[in-house]
Assembly symmetry: C2
Homo-oligomer: 147 residues x 2
């Protein structure tokens, strides 16, 4: 039992998250969730591979992320370049039902993507005939840590 956890809560939180989602608690899933919990920003597939080191197979990362998205543990964030990024969902995001009503922020300096959970997406007034079901907002600029 390596003393790797800075916050002991993490392991509990991780286990309960996985159990709630009916996923078995395995090392790769714990590790990947841990990365999300300690990073506080969104992560791409590549980020995770890099941070996890040689620990897992590339395929495992694909399958793990896919499982997490399906269960509503993480959500994808649209980006202008081709890299999909993933971030933890808030508790009110149940599987399938995504309440992703916050704004995403991409910092040009540190290249991190943050979920601004307190910033609600605005109502958009659309032309006649269009019906909005979901609104995604991605703000680009400089984050509070980079100034």
């Amino acid at each position: 039992m390596p003393a790797k956890d800075t916050l002991p809560d993490f392991e509990e939180k991780i286990a309960s998250l996985l159990k709630k989602s009916h996923l078995s608690v395995t090392e790769s899933r714990r590790k990947i969730l841990h990365l999300f919990l300690e990073h506080a920003g969104a992560l791409s597939h590549g980020d995770i591979e890099r941070k996890a080191g040689e620990k897992f197979d590339r395929v495992t990362v694909y399958r793990t992320l896919q499982a997490f998205v399906e269960k509503g543990i993480i959500h994808t964030i649209p980006t202008a370049d081709n890299s999909i990024r993933y971030a933890l969902c808030k508790d009110d995001c149940s599987a399938g039902h995504h309440h992703d009503h916050h704004v995403h922020f991409l910092c040009h300096r540190c290249n991190n993507t943050y979920c601004l959970d307190d910033v609600v997406t605005p109502d958009i007034k659309l032309p006649r005939g269009y019906v909005a079901e979901q609104v995604e907002v991605l703000v680009e600029g400089v984050c509070k840590n980079c100034r």
Copy 2:
């Protein structure tokens, strides 16, 4: 000279666009620009390959789209899945300087992406310390043609 053009203006517009951007007027570029002009929505790399038929090499499409983006003729639209989509820029988009202040709309029925040029992106009130440089808004729902 095949009578392929529904609107004769297209060919003029295309040639002037390319010349203005210091790109030589070639068949692939004319054809691809034509697709954008007649489609009225955003196109992915795959869309273009499909619509262009066996006409060009896949590599030519990559290079053409890349050139168009660099010259400010088209812009990319962020999506949650992995497919980059491209759409024509308005005239006020000069190379490098992207005035992409409109809202994008993705229809769940027809799967088209539209630039709603008349819908301006709202101001977003960010937490203290964050500086916004650009705001991207992607609305998902049902478009006016699909109801």
